[in-house]
């Protein structure tokens, strides 16, 4: 039985045992349920093997929502633990595991897939394409992300969670100070998901550069598509850095190399350096799409074109370049001299300029508009002032000498939540609500949505604003407890109350999905918001081939123009459409990667080698495969179109 000891959680507790049982029961229930209702065939044909960007997008979002609740549960536990001084709810080790997984899950397995999900669904529709450039690769991306995320999540119940913070600074993350397999999970699971993300990056750059509808020049692309192009550019150049950093980490932990070690010349600072060379651009990877989503929504519900389109594009390009030259501000206190700190302080503050341009352009998009306060618009409007606070505190943090006082404190925690929550979380909730009818052909309830919105916005501010103050009072982040004499108690309690508000808000969100799925009126129009860009020119739900006829485009809001007596979008007759075939290989490849990762985490080399051979077998199979896709005939298109038009008439 010794062999199986390695899978035990080293630091178990009733909570973990409870979760182990709950997870086992849930997995079993799903398996039994799917078998009982005979849905395996359906799942395999329609979802596991799909290469359709819309379905892949839906799966991304589903996974992201799951992860949102995993990360949210972590967050709630953290706030509960620190709500009162000297609390005994969690011990130090558990608290450390929880904030580590909270960070990783929220950034890499919630924010990223949520955004990638939305971009999967929307981008091809918005540029008038029938799919992404490499549909099969897109499926590989998804399954690598998915199985990577699953691998990370089982760490909680098999072998032990990572516990060195999401930044995993060495030497704390080395075998010497973090003996359990937790940090192996971190290194391997993020690696697998990261490879998937890199492929997504390449895929979408090519899609956007090469597959736009005729007439859609770069400067006539909708702003969301622009933001996705820039985001993917950052992904392609930032993720290889993470790949290398994680590989070096893996080698340090498993093969006794000396990159970040304390002995034999290793450099712990180098890890921090590499991590943030990726980490800072990563922040913009999750923020820029938000800017795109808000641009679409604000312009739709202000009933106006986006103000300052050109400067919006230029500022985004500027942000993408600047995002690569500021990383050292994450470790001003590492001891490099005033010269280095000065340089990075200035480059960091420079980012405020293009960001400011965007804020003012949004404000002036509202100017002389006709603003409607729908749920997506409410999130977008709440974003502006809250994100401004996040942004200006960012400038404050960029001042190197003052950062010596903010660094590692709750002030910093408050700052990045003020950026990431209104930036990323509000935007994906807004985008999710906004594009929901396009995907499912009915709208989410506005009434319940507004309840959710108000609880989330108010709860968010109550949770995080007090942290600015406790931070300035000297409360360091990541402390699992504090004594009463510090005086941090009342404000931390207030944070916990705010967190409960957030919990209620998200409960409303879930209830909204349930309620609307059951009771919301069906057969809304294919353009329920009276929107402006091409995705709304398709039927709802969107047919497999997206557009029966490829649209011809003349502006960044071609659909709006065509609705308002502009040129027609769809000219000509139906032609046969070529579409890619489904394939089970991406799904299988994902599972093999999962097995490979699991074997690596526990240093089971034989399994790891077998899985590696399996991965190469999949690649060789792809190399020799002959797959020319299939064709949809004109008759089939006519039939589908007639049916869909009928449904929406």
């Amino acid at each position: 039985m010794d062999y199986f000891d390695r899978f035990a959680v080293p630091h178990s507790s009733p909570m973990i045992v409870g979760s182990q049982i709950a997870i086992a029961v849930t997995v079993l229930a799903i398996l039994v349920g799917v078998t009982y209702f005979k849905k395996w065939g359906y799942l395999w044909r329609e979802w596991f093997t799909t290469v359709d960007h819309k379905r892949i997008g839906i799966m991304y979002i589903l996974a992201a929502l799951l992860m949102l609740f995993r990360g949210g549960a972590d967050a709630l536990l953290m706030r509960a633990q620190t709500a009162i001084p000297d609390n005994g709810l969690l011990d130090g080790q558990h608290y450390n595991e929880i904030f580590t997984t909270h960070g990783v899950v929220m950034i890499l397995f919630m924010a990223m897939p949520f955004i990638i999900g939305l971009m999967n669904i929307v981008t091809p529709l918005q540029i008038g394409a029938r799919d992404v450039a490499f549909p099969r690769l897109n499926a590989v991306s998804f399954w690598l992300f998915f199985w990577g995320a699953m691998l990370f999540n089982i760490s909680f119940v098999v072998g032990g969670s990572p516990d060195a913070g999401w930044t995993a600074y060495f030497p704390l993350a080395s075998v010497e100070f973090s003996e359990s397999v937790g940090m192996n999970y971190y290194a391997i699971a993020i690696q697998i998901a990261g490879i998937g993300t890199l492929m997504t990056g390449i895929n979408f750059i090519v899609t956007i550069l090469k597959m736009r509808a005729p007439g859609m020049t770069l400067m006539k692309m909708p702003m969301f598509t622009w933001s996705i192009l820039i985001t993917n550019l950052i992904i392609v150049f930032a993720f290889p850095v993470l790949t290398v950093a994680l590989a070096l980490m893996t080698m340090d932990r498993m093969f006794g190399t000396n990159f970040f070690t304390m002995a034999n010349g290793g450099s712990d600072m180098l890890w921090a350096n590499l991590f943030w060379i990726w980490g800072h651009p990563e922040v913009y990877i999750v923020i820029l799409p938000a800017f795109g989503i808000y641009s679409e929504i604000i312009s739709t519900f202000a009933r106006r074109n986006l103000y300052g389109y050109k400067s919006m594009v230029v500022s985004m390009v500027a942000i993408s370049v600047l995002s690569f030259v500021v990383w050292a501000h994450h470790f001003f206190t590492m001891g490099h001299g005033a010269m280095v700190n000065g340089i990075f302080s200035v480059t960091t503050m420079a980012i405020a300029v293009p960001t400011g341009i965007k804020i003012f352009n949004w404000l002036f998009t509202l100017w002389r508009g006709k603003i409607e306060f729908t749920v997506p618009m409410l999130y977008s409007l709440a974003f502006i002032p809250i994100f401004t606070i996040g942004g200006v505190t960012g400038v404050m943090l960029a001042m190197a000498s003052a950062d010596y006082q903010y660094h590692n404190t709750m002030f910093l925690v408050a700052h990045f939540h003020y950026v990431l929550i209104p930036g990323t979380v509000f935007s994906v909730l807004a985008g999710f609500t906004y594009w929901w009818p396009k995907i499912f052909n009915f709208q989410l309830s506005e009434r319940i949505g507004k309840w959710a919105f108000w609880f989330i916005v108010v709860g968010f501010n109550v949770t995080f604003f007090p942290m600015f103050i406790t931070g300035l009072d000297g409360q360091a982040r990541r402390m699992y407890t504090y004594s009463e004499s510090t005086g941090y108690g009342p404000l931390n309690m207030l944070s916990f109350v705010g967190a409960l508000g957030l919990l209620l808000g998200f409960a409303f969100l879930v209830y909204n999905i349930y309620w609307s799925t059951r009771y919301a009126p069906r057969n809304v129009s294919s353009d329920p918001w009276n929107a402006r860009s091409l995705e709304w020119a398709t039927h709802s739900p969107v047919p497999e081939y997206n557009f029966a006829i490829v649209p011809e485009v003349d502006s960044s809001q071609a659909f709006w123009d065509s609705k308002n007596n502009g040129p027609a979008l769809f000219k000509g007759k139906y032609k046969e459409i070529h579409m890619p075939n489904n394939s089970g290989v991406p799904f299988i490849l994902g599972i093999i990667f999962f097995v490979w990762g699991f074997a690596m985490v526990f240093s089971m080399w034989i399994f790891a080698i077998i899985a590696t051979l399996g991965i190469f077998a999949c690649m060789a199979h792809r190399s020799f495969e002959k797959d020319h896709g299939h064709h949809i005939t004109v008759e089939e298109i006519e039939e589908t179109e007639k049916k869909l038009r009928g449904a929406n008439a």
């Binding site: 990383w327 001299g337 340089i343």
Partner: protein, 96 residues
């Protein structure tokens, strides 16, 4: 195919050029140049070699996507230089 078609001038010249550049780079060690001159020679020869490969062998500029390809390469180069010199700045040069 005749020999001229099999061995087009451009390719042959490119190959000879890359061999010459290798020999020049090797000179840095053979003639024991000072560190500074040596580094300059290496930088020049290495980037010229890369240029030869990129333009003569990889045909970077031949397709309709010329602009996208060059933008991509320049952006990658920018990131590469920032990563390398930025790391040197924060890890070595920055400390006094």
């Amino acid at each position: 195919m005749n020999m001229k078609q099999l061995f087009p001038r451009g390719h042959v010249m490119g190959f000879i050029f890359s061999m010459v550049l290798t020999a020049v780079a090797l000179g840095v060690v053979v003639y024991e140049l000072s560190f500074k001159t040596g580094m300059i020679v290496l930088l020049v020869t290495a980037f010229m070699q890369a240029g030869v490969q990129l333009v003569m062998f990889m045909h970077a500029g031949e397709s309709e996507d010329k602009k996208a390809i060059y933008t991509n390469v320049y952006y990658a180069l920018f990131i590469a230089l920032v990563t390398i010199f930025g790391t040197l700045l924060t890890m070595i040069w920055g400390y006094q």
